[in-house]
Structures are given as structure tokens and as C-alpha cells.
């Protein structure tokens, strides 16, 4: 199917058409911060501000807290119940390429060995409509991780800003089907295609932060035992969970029960390897020291994940850099590490 376009003024109508079929999520500031939220049927204000959300869209598939099951205790017997689900189809509008890429990375863990019964069905039920970025932050470095601000690789349908309009490209069958569901889309002209190409090239150049990922796995392996280096790198980290919880590729979780009288619930909730308690056992804690936790975080993303799944668990979204209250910067960390390994 040929590419199409949509005038920005008609975005609400397009969303309206799709919302008949899907539960729709858009970038929103309604809840006090930029995050993906359910569409209210009219809001298109993200067109004016959308650069990046604070909370990544992974939260739709892997929420900060999620009921795993509930149970009822009857004398000594337990009856377990799964949470009900209507299997509602979802559509995420305006997902950025680095966040869509992150979902592809997360899929690997949630599919590995045992299929995760909470994340995967939601993933399967959701179509992704990407919106290319035109104004990368100074914290962004997606181009260093093989991505681009306008990459369509991990979405179903891709929109690129061409001025008053978006060029609309069907990437997958699901995406092309979306195109046929609305009459708001017009045929794209050759001039539109050219403008989209120019936007893509220009935006790529706007990503100025660079990270050298060549041989990074090997370099991290050889730096693993250099305690001084990791102590220096970790010095200013305050061991909060911002960089991990808000990372689109971090997936660690905790599992906890709650019991009120005879009715209980088991939850899973976001957890972070930055917290000392994360690895705490009754008698021992293998990562009680901060530098070990920081080392694990860095190595997990750039060494261990590639060893397990052939992909770096970072998409260069820059949230960890921008949100860190002490400006601990992963790109500087890796530069420092590489300099150290090279100098011996």
C-alpha cells in the first residue's frame, strides 16, 4: 500500500476513527507529568509539546503495580482467582522509535524460557503507531544504539512530521489495516515523500550526544574487576531508582502479597537493582556496596543482556541522563570505562 498523509488538524478525527476499535493511548500531561494516558476523545495537545514522556510506554504492558491473582481463604483452603480481562485491543499513538525498540528488547525477557502471562497478551493485543521525533533533547543518543529518531523498525504504522501534515507509512499488516480504517488519510505525493526524507535526515543530525559501543561487551568484561574505576563511577550515585524504573528497557520486578482478613492479592511491582534491598538475603547481601550495584546496572545493559539476547538493553532515550537528580550520566560512565580499559 502506498504511503498516505494526514493533516495535523484532522488528527482528532483519525484518533476518533481508531478509538471505535481500540482503547487508545496518547502522550498526555493530564496526570501532572508527560506519560501515555487513555485518550479522552478530543485531546491533541501533545502535537504542541511532545518530545519525550517521563514515564515510558512500557508502563502500559508492564505497569508499576499489577495484580497477578487474588485468593480467598476459607478455613484452611485457598481458592485462587485470576484477574479478569476483557482482552481489549489497544492502540498506542505517538510512541517514539526508541520506546518501540525498547518493547522489542523487553519481549526477549518476557518470552524467554517461560512466557510471561501478563506482559505478552497485552503486547499481542496492541498496535503501535510511531511518531518520529523532530527535536531530540541534549540527553538523547539513540543514533549510537543503531536507531534513529524517525526509525520505523518496531512499530506497525509510522508518522513523520512534514510541516502541516504527517506522512503515514504502513510498516506491518496491522499498520496497513489501520490505514484503511479511516477516511481522513489522503494519498501522499512525491513532494511529501521528499519532505519526509529531509526531515528524517535533518533530525538524525540533531542527535549530538554520542556513545561508542564498539567492543563494549569485551571492554566491560575486562573492566569488571577494576574496583577503583567502579568506585569512582559510582561515587555520586545516590542509589535511587529513577534511572532504572524510568528506563524503557528495565524490567526488574518484585512480588508481594497482601492479605486483608481472608481475602488476599499477589502483586508484582517495578523494582530496581539500584536498591540495596534488591539482592538482600537474610544472612548476606552480594551487592551491599554501591559500586557493585552501579556496575551491575551498567553491565546488565551493555554486557549481560547482549550475552543473553544479542542486543544492548539501551535505546539511547536519555531518560536516565535527564531525570537523574545528580546528573549521573551513562554515556560519560562508559567513556570513562573505555578510557580506563584502553590505557590498561
Amino acid at each position: 500500500m502506498a504511503n498516505k498523509k494526514i493533516n495535523k488538524k484532522n488528527i482528532a478525527k483519525l484518533l476518533g476513527d481508531w478509538s471505535k476499535e481500540f482503547e487508545l493511548f496518547i502522550p498526555s500531561k493530564d496526570e501532572g507529568i508527560a506519560k501515555f494516558a487513555k485518550w479522552d476523545g478530543k485531546d491533541t495537545s501533545f502535537l504542541d509539546w511532545h518530545r519525550n514522556t517521563i514515564v515510558p510506554p512500557k508502563a502500559i504492558f508492564f505497569p508499576p503495580v499489577e495484580e497477578m491473582f487474588s485468593f480467598q481463604k476459607d478455613k484452611q483452603s485457598y481458592h485462587i482467582e485470576l484477574p479478569s480481562s476483557d482482552g481489549q485491543k489497544q492502540l498506542i499513538f505517538g510512541i517514539r522509535p526508541y520506546d518501540a525498540n525498547a518493547l522489542t528488547i523487553l519481549d526477549k525477557t518476557f518470552k524467554d524460557t517461560y512466557e510471561d502471562p501478563y506482559y505478552l497478551p497485552k503486547r499481542k493485543n496492541t498496535v503501535l503507531v510511531g511518531l518520529g521525533c523532530t527535536k531530540p533533547y541534549d540527553s538523547c543518543f539513540c543514533t549510537s544504539l543503531g536507531g534513529s529518531p524517525t526509525d520505523s523498525a518496531n512499530v506497525d504504522l509510522m508518522l513523520t512530521d512534514i510541516g502541516d501534515e504527517f506522512l503515514v507509512e504502513g510498516v506491518t499488516d496491522k499498520g496497513r489495516e489501520l490505514m484503511s480504517m479511516s477516511s481522513e488519510l489522503e494519498e501522499a505525493t512525491e513532494a511529501d515523500e521528499t519532505r519526509a526524507k529531509e526531515t528524517k535526515e535533518a533530525t538524525y543530525q540533531k542527535v549530538t550526544r554520542q556513545l561508542d559501543t564498539k567492543d563494549i561487551e569485551e571492554k566491560l568484561l575486562s573492566s569488571f574487576e577494576i574496583q577503583d574505576l567502579w568506585e569512582e563511577i559510582a561515587a555520586k550515585c545516590i542509589s535511587c531508582g529513577i534511572c532504572t524504573l524510568l528506563c524503557p528497557t528495565c524490567y526488574c520486578f518484585d512480588i508481594n502479597d497482601e492479605l486483608i482478613k481472608d481475602r488476599g492479592t499477589r502483586f508484582r511491582s517495578w523494582d530496581s537493582c539500584s536498591f540495596p534491598v534488591y539482592t538482600k538475603m537474610p544472612m548476606e547481601n552480594p551487592r551491599i556496596e554501591k559500586w557493585r550495584r552501579v556496575r551491575n546496572k551498567v553491565c546488565h545493559k551493555y554486557e549481560f543482556y547482549p550475552m543473553n539476547f544479542d542486543v544492548i538493553a539501551c535505546t539511547g532515550c536519555g531518560r536516565c541522563v535527564r531525570q537523574c537528580p545528580v546528573n549521573w550520566d551513562i554515556t560519560q560512565t562508559l567513556e570513562k570505562m573505555q578510557a580506563k580499559v584502553q590505557s590498561g
Binding site: 496526570e31 501532572g32 507529568i33 518530545r51 517521563i54 514515564v55 508499576p64 503495580v65 527535536k135 533533547y137 541534549d138 540527553s139 561515587a235 555520586k236 545516590i238 542509589s239 535511587c240 531508582g241 529513577i242 524504573l245 524510568l246 518484585d254 508481594n256 497482601e258 502483586f267 511491582s269 517495578w270 530496581s272 536498591f275 534491598v277 554501591k290 541522563v321 535527564r322 531525570q323 537528580p325 545528580v326 546528573n327 549521573w328 550520566d329 554515556t331 560519560q332
Partner: protein, 321 residues
């Protein structure tokens, strides 16, 4: 310009402290990796002290790091940070003789979120932000815009009673001329006070629904020095280790009580919060309550006993019914 001179002096003093072996570490600020940001510099290396800076963006309360460093530390401290250090001394977390305080009289720190709001641009799109006396000059797209400092300083800075460190080894500049404006610094709280109770409850429900339990508020707070926080206690379990708004709210309420008499209104908890929960509305209210009820201001006297560890016969007791 004045910052430049202070900065030069700081570097000289810091270098001398390391060279003479008077301290093992220097903690100060260096240029951050994003526009306008500064970042903590924690170093043993006398050459890296040349990276130390003083500017209107040195926001972190560096006393946070004192409890984890072993040895003697030279530390850059603004007025509020200085009080946090004194408070840590009161709590026996830090020994006075182990710290060399490099005091920086503070004219107030620029809140980039406020600048963003005023000019309608994100911080990385601004060409320059400079402080010029009572004004802050913002350059956007080559065009200069002037704002009164009171419009762009952090709320807690506006209400700062002690911008100049009182307990120092070296004071790097003359006293700050910042004048406290209590009303301006209680703006958020006054809005809340004007709400009926129901509405306040709804307000906090909405705010705490966003909390993701990253614990940045706790991690960045120098007064939160417990090795094991009540949140992680499992026997008994005080609150569910799950980010639901009710538990999130209780976490903050208890944290507030724990830092009562220790909180110096440095504002770091609210600044660190990645989901913009107005935490200072709680901590500042507690700060003022402590002052009103007990005439106690945190971190003013290193010899004084910590507020919550002692009592005086004149303490108010009419809350006991």
C-alpha cells in the same frame, strides 16, 4: 563575575586542603553533562579541583554524601546544605572535626522549570541563563529576556532565612543579600490550606497516584540517613512495598515525621521527584510547624540535641487530649 572569583578561591582552598593532607576528599560541584546542569564532584585528586565551579545552578545538597565517605572531607556548602551538615553533626552521623566546610553565601538557585514555564521553551533550547543581581537574564533565539530573580528562584530559596553558612571553616564570599519572603515560599501550601479537607484529600490522592517508589526523595535527603528504612521492614510490615497511592502517602507522612527537626527546607526531595509530586508542601509545612511549636530550626547549633530526642518542660502538649 563574582561567581568567577569565588570559584577561583574555592579551587585554591580545595587544592591546598588536599595538598596539605587536611582532607581526604573534596566534594563540590562541576559542570554537568546537560545544558546549565551542575553535578557533584567527589574527588581525592588535587588536579581535578580545577573543575570545581560556583554558579546559579549548584542545586544539590552535597551533605548527602557525608555519611557514606570514610575520612576527612572538604565540602562545598550553601546555607541550607550547611544546616544539613550541622544537623548530621547533632545526630552523631558526622564529626565536626572530619569536615572542612567551604561555605558559599547563596543568592538563591535558579529553578530551570520556572524559566521553562516563563519562556515556553525547554532548557536545552535556551541559549543562556545568567544571574545579574536581582535579575535573571534568559537568552532565547538570540533574544534577551529579563526576569526578576524572585520569579525564577526555587520556592525554598525564596523563603531561605539563612542563605549564608553559619558554621564554616572557610567562607568563600561576603554574606548573601537574599531576603526571605516567607509568603512566596509557602505558595503551594497556602493553596492547599485554602481547600476544604475533602478537596485536599483528592489532591493528594491524585498526586500520590503518580509515585513510582523510586525513593529519590529519600535517597537525596541528607536527613534520611537510616541504614534501613521502615519501608523495607518486613517484620512488621509498615506499608505495602507496592506503589499504590495510599501506601505512597503514608510513606511520605512517616518520612516527614522522621525528618522533622532535621529538614532544612533544601527542597531536594521535591526537585528530585521525577513525577513532580509537590513534596515540599509537606516538608515545608513540617518545617514551619517545628519552628512554631518548638521554636526549633534544624541545623543551627551543632551542640543542640536533635529535636525529637529530647523534651523541655515548656514544649507544647495541648495536642494530648
Amino acid at each position: 563575575m563574582k561567581d568567577r572569583e569565588t570559584e577561583q578561591r574555592l579551587r585554591r582552598e580545595a587544592k591546598a586542603l588536599l595538598e596539605q593532607g587536611k582532607v581526604d576528599y573534596i566534594i563540590g560541584f562541576e559542570t554537568g553533562s546537560l545544558k546549565f546542569t551542575t553535578t557533584p564532584l567527589i574527588t581525592k585528586d588535587k588536579d581535578s579541583v580545577d573543575r570545581l565551579i560556583i554558579n546559579p545552578f549548584i542545586v544539590n545538597n552535597l551533605s548527602e554524601y557525608l555519611t557514606e565517605l570514610k575520612g576527612r572531607v572538604g565540602i562545598v556548602a550553601k546555607g541550607c546544605d550547611n544546616r544539613s551538615i550541622v544537623s548530621l553533626i547533632q545526630d552523631n552521623q558526622v564529626k565536626r572535626e572530619d569536615v572542612v566546610i567551604l561555605g558559599v553565601p547563596c543568592p538563591g538557585i535558579i529553578d530551570l522549570s520556572k524559566v521553562e514555564g516563563l519562556v515556553g521553551k525547554d532548557r536545552d533550547e535556551l541559549d543562556d541563563v545568567t544571574r545579574d543581581g536581582d535579575k535573571v537574564v534568559v537568552t532565547v533565539d538570540g533574544e534577551k529576556k529579563e526576569f526578576p530573580a524572585s520569579e525564577v528562584l526555587f520556592d525554598n530559596c525564596l523563603g531561605c532565612e539563612f542563605p549564608t553558612p553559619q558554621e564554616y571553616n572557610i567562607l568563600l564570599d561576603e554574606s548573601s543579600s537574599l531576603v526571605a519572603d516567607k509568603t512566596a515560599s509557602r505558595k503551594g501550601i497556602e493553596t492547599l490550606e485554602g481547600m476544604p479537607q475533602e478537596q485536599r484529600w483528592d489532591f493528594w490522592e491524585k498526586e500520590f497516584s503518580r509515585c513510582i517508589r523510586c525513593y529519590a526523595c529519600r535517597s537525596i535527603c541528607p536527613a534520611c540517613f537510616c541504614e534501613r528504612c521502615f519501608v523495607e521492614e518486613s517484620e512488621p510490615q509498615w506499608i505495602a512495598p507496592v506503589p499504590r497511592w495510599q501506601d505512597n502517602l503514608i510513606f511520605q507522612v512517616i518520612r516527614n515525621i522522621h525528618v522533622a527537626g532535621r529538614c532544612t527546607d533544601c527542597g531536594e526531595c521535591e526537585r528530585a521527584c521525577p513525577v513532580n509530586i509537590p513534596l515540599r508542601s509537606l516538608t515545608k509545612e513540617m518545617y514551619d510547624l517545628v519552628d512554631d511549636l518548638y521554636h526549633f530550626k534544624a541545623g543551627m547549633d551543632k551542640e543542640a540535641a536533635p529535636l525529637m530526642t529530647h523534651y523541655e518542660t515548656t514544649d507544647p502538649e495541648d495536642f494530648i487530649k
